[in-house]
């Protein structure tokens, strides 16, 4: 090697390249450890049988009619909830974006309510409304039985509603007035205009919402475990096998089975969103719905009915938390907020601690992963991108079980933090990595490449550019990502249920245990505390952003 070559080589390996390699490599390594290893753990464990490596567990599973019927139940409930949710949420989003119904801000808040609570709160609310001792049966002397398919159906419908609503209202929010005027001039009826203009323009949002709702429902654990009764689904069965019977290999088999449909739905959703292009050009005229009293009145009636259902569920939980002893003594009291049961109030503080740690780790990990993804060349970014998106396809129950199988081994380096808060926080970070990563990627895209180029021509290193130029621009969105993770960490139940120990009990899990023991009023009080914490944190973050003069950052996703 000549002197000149060596000189140019030394210049090629400069600090900037090393830093990028370290960030990209570090992010990839963490994803391998905290996503791939657990998945590998599940997959390999499902193949271990007393007779050696093989598909024996799967054969055993599929020859048991009870297990096969669980698969049938899972799909029955997932498909029916998906269809119902999409129809109802499309109508709600349509009313809010395309008509002149009044009270839009209030209706919007009602639609988003379920996001602020753990998924079992809907089931809890349904119990209070329609359960054996529920308001309806008590008041009218009826004997409705909500436990089973219909319980899961309604609970998951309400739980998935805001997610579908958010996607669909984004799709319906943009429209080109010119197309609608053309349709009108050409003599198209309202229904025909809807079929030929509105529906095609929102087909990507619609497809995306279908896949997202399907994934949410098929992987949901909280609602079916509370209100499913004897109607078992895969996400609950995995818990029964592992926690109830310590049958890890059967748990692993169910995990793999649950992985497939979720992975397919997520893959389809990614495919759809890649093929989605802007249908609105620079010349488009924004759509402003006109007043139409009869239409607006009908839509308002529908929205009020829907909002009433959404609010009623939360309201009845709040109400029950103040009732002395449901349903025998309906006088009001604050005694359930004394939390004199089990670990008392400690799980709530643990949850808040975990949520802060989760948010803290997540903003760093996710922002750096998105940064590396933006800066790396095509070849290097591909594995990082794939690994970053992969967790979207991994149901929480599967990830949690994977953590047990992969890390509950004193020989494993990660075992050092096993059983503590850190592993729970990391599990949350990687459970929601895909959503956080996509949010961060969108933020990165909004920074013009010119800022970085200007900075480097002025002599700044990569690190200096990152700290002095990029961070000061994106910090509000980084804060929003932190709020997203905080919220999810407060309400999540599925992944962490396998990782808690008596000393690291979480609030959402406490609600489940209290409900399980029949302490419904305490469960409600705990759920109210979780919701209050989430809403309080969001308001606080919003206030910080407002004080800093930031207005265009949305905290609810």
């Amino acid at each position: 090697m000549s002197l000149a070559d060596r000189w140019s080589l030394r210049r090629a390996i400069d600090g900037d390249r090393l830093l990028l390699a370290a960030i990209g490599g570090g992010a990839t390594l963490l994803l391998v450890v905290f996503v791939i290893l657990p998945l590998w753990g599940i997959l390999s464990y499902s193949l271990i049988t007393p007779e050696g490596i093989g598909f024996g567990n799967y054969v055993r599973y599929f020859s048991d009619p009870r297990f096969v019927s669980i698969i049938g139940n899972t799909f029955e409930v997932s498909v029916s909830v998906t269809v119902a949710t999409i129809l109802l949420a499309y109508g709600f989003a349509y009313a809010l974006e395309r008509t002149r119904v009044p009270f839009k801000p209030l209706l919007r808040i009602a639609a988003l309510l379920p996001i602020f609570s753990p998924s079992l709160v809907q089931a809890l609310g349904l119990q209070f409304l329609l359960g054996r001792n529920g308001l309806i049966n008590r008041t009218f002397g009826t004997e409705l039985d909500i436990y089973g398919f219909w319980g899961i159906f309604f609970a998951d419908l309400l739980y998935a509603f805001p997610h579908a609503f958010l996607i669909l209202s984004t799709a319906l929010a943009v429209g080109d007035q010119r197309l609608y005027e053309s349709a009108q001039v050409l003599g198209a009826s309202a229904w025909r205009t809807f079929r030929t203009v509105t529906l095609p323009a929102t087909r990507y949002g619609l497809a995306s919402a279908v896949f997202v709702v399907f994934t949410i429902v098929i992987t949901d654990f909280g609602n079916p475990v509370v209100i499913g009764g004897n109607y078992s689904v895969l996400a609950v069965e995995i818990y029964n096998q592992v926690s109830g019977q310590a049958n890890f290999s059967m748990g692993a088999v169910i995990g793999v089975l649950l992985l497939f449909p979720a992975a397919l739905a997520v893959g389809a959703e990614r495919w759809v969103s890649r093929h989605q292009h802007a249908s609105i050009g620079a010349q488009s005229v924004p759509l402003t719905p006109r007043v139409n009293r009869r239409r607006d009145a009908l839509w308002l009636a529908y929205c009020l009915a829907m909002a009433a259902a959404l609010v009623a569920i939360v309201a009845v939980v709040v109400y029950a938390s103040f009732v002395r002893l449901w349903p025998y003594d309906m006088s009001l009291s604050l005694r359930h907020y004394a939390f004199d049961v089990q670990n008392g109030i400690t799980p709530l503080w643990t949850s808040i601690q975990v949520a802060f740690v989760t948010a803290g780790i997540a903003v760093v990990v996710v922002t750096l992963a998105a940064y590396a993804n933006q800066q790396l060349s095509e070849t290097w970014k591909r594995p990082l991108y794939f690994l970053s998106i992969l967790p979207a396809a991994v149901p929480g129950m599967v990830l949690g079980l994977g953590y047990i199988l992969a890390f509950n081994d004193p020989a494993h380096p990660v075992y050092a933090i096993y059983g503590g808060l850190a592993i729970i926080a990391l599990c949350n970070v990687y459970h929601y990595h895909a959503q956080g990563f996509l949010l961060a990627t969108t933020n990165m895209k909004q920074i013009s490449r010119t800022f970085e180029e200007a900075s480097s021509t002025l002599g700044a290193s990569r690190l200096a550019t990152l700290l002095r130029v990029i961070l000061p621009i994106i910090w509000p969105s980084v804060l929003a990502i932190g709020a997203f993770f905080f919220m999810r960490a407060m309400v999540t139940l599925s992944a962490v249920i396998f990782l808690i120990t008596p000393s690291t009990q979480l609030a959402a899990v406490s609600v489940l245990y209290l409900d399980d023991r029949g302490a419904l009023n305490q469960a409600a009080a705990f759920a109210v505390c979780i919701m209050a914490t989430v809403v309080g944190f969001l308001l606080l973050t919003q206030a910080v952003l407002r004080l800093a003069g930031v207005r265009n950052v949305s905290l609810i996703r």
Partner: protein, 339 residues
């Protein structure tokens, strides 16, 4: 030579954006890269800045190879088309940015920033944020920021094209004055021929990644060597030798197959007026009155010819017949396109 480009080549996939460019730039010179969008001029500038890596060739500054040296170590000032001021910093902090990165002591940074803001007449706006400034002011801050670390070369990437016409005109003069005063070697990329002609010492016309012609504005206008240059800079009648043989003056040797002549050089010959050289005749097809001049489209035997007449013009109506000559001293032989 101050800045040397030798066989500079850049490919994007199958496309060769910059194709073996050789160029010498002198110390203190103002050179413009001119060409249509997609011709490779911006890529060439970015290669010089170190924002793109060379596939082939070499770029040397005072004889030493810049090779793979990253942009931040080159000490070249760059001004981008738009929105390159850091939105979270004040004007003063934007200008100081390069100095802070170079670890200048505070005591030297402050006077330097003040001096540069004086230079671009923005001293009073030091504490403002970019979004509080007009586009023209923002570009002046960007200029001050690029000049602050005393760069070896100033690189301007279409610095005026995002601005309003009025602001653009005044900034042209301001940048040129500043460049002369500081004596800094400057390369500017533009697609606007007026801008290039007004500001640059020399102009390099690019097309499809290659140099079409390098020279003074006058050279490019009066003696374009290719049809592309002639048509890109101003308007040009391109005449094929075989068809226009009868009207072309006697030319010795082999001056090529194509001739170009500017519309203002085609001379109208009044009825009965004597002329030296062959006279053509054509029918007026179009008359466009443009204020200080009138543009005529004449259909003559061998083809169409465009004529520009300054001052008042009488008797030119559509359908009339006019006589014209093609003065030999204004005809330039050109290479056909594509090469």
């Amino acid at each position: 030579m101050f800045l040397e480009l030798r066989g500079v080549t850049k490919r994007f996939g199958g496309l060769t954006a910059v194709d073996h460019i050789d160029l010498d730039i002198e110390d203190g010179e103002f050179i413009c890269f001119l060409g249509p969008s997609g011709c490779g001029k911006t890529t060439l500038l970015r290669l010089i800045a170190g924002l793109e890596s060379l596939d082939e060739g070499a770029i040397r500054l005072r004889g030493s190879d810049l090779g793979q040296l990253p942009a931040r170590k080159r000490n070249f000032g760059v001004v981008f088309q738009s929105y390159s001021l850091f939105p979270s910093m004040t004007v003063a902090r934007n200008v100081a940015y390069g100095l802070v990165c170079r670890k200048w002591p505070r005591a030297r940074i402050e006077p330097r920033v003040a001096a540069l803001l004086d230079l671009v007449h923005l001293r009073g706006d030091a504490g403002k944020y970019p979004h509080e400034l007009s586009g023209g002011m923002q570009q002046r801050v960007a200029l001050a920021r690029a000049l602050a670390p005393e760069p070896e070369v100033l690189l301007l990437d279409e610095p005026l094209s995002a601005l309003d016409a009025k602001v653009r005109e005044s900034l042209r003069g301001e940048i040129r004055d500043l460049q002369k005063r500081l004596g800094i070697t400057t390369v500017m990329v533009t697609h606007d021929q007026d801008e290039a002609m007004e500001m640059a010492d020399r102009i390099l016309v690019m097309n499809r990644g290659r140099i079409e012609q390098v020279g003074l504005a006058q050279d490019l206008y009066w003696r374009p060597t290719t049809r592309f240059v002639g048509e890109f800079i101003g308007r040009l009648n391109v005449l094929e030798r075989e068809r226009w043989q009868a009207l072309l003056p006697e030319l010795g040797g082999d001056p090529g197959r194509l001739f170009g002549i500017r519309p203002e050089h085609v001379r109208l010959v009044g009825a009965g007026e004597p002329s030296n050289g062959p006279v053509g005749e054509g029918t007026v097809r179009k008359v466009a009155f443009l204020g200080n001049m009138t543009r005529l489209i004449l259909e003559a035997g061998p083809g169409v010819v465009e004529i520009e007449v300054h001052g008042p013009l009488r008797g030119a109506e559509v359908g009339e017949r006019l006589r014209f000559t093609l003065p030999g001293e204004h005809l330039s032989p050109m290479a056909a396109d594509p090469r």
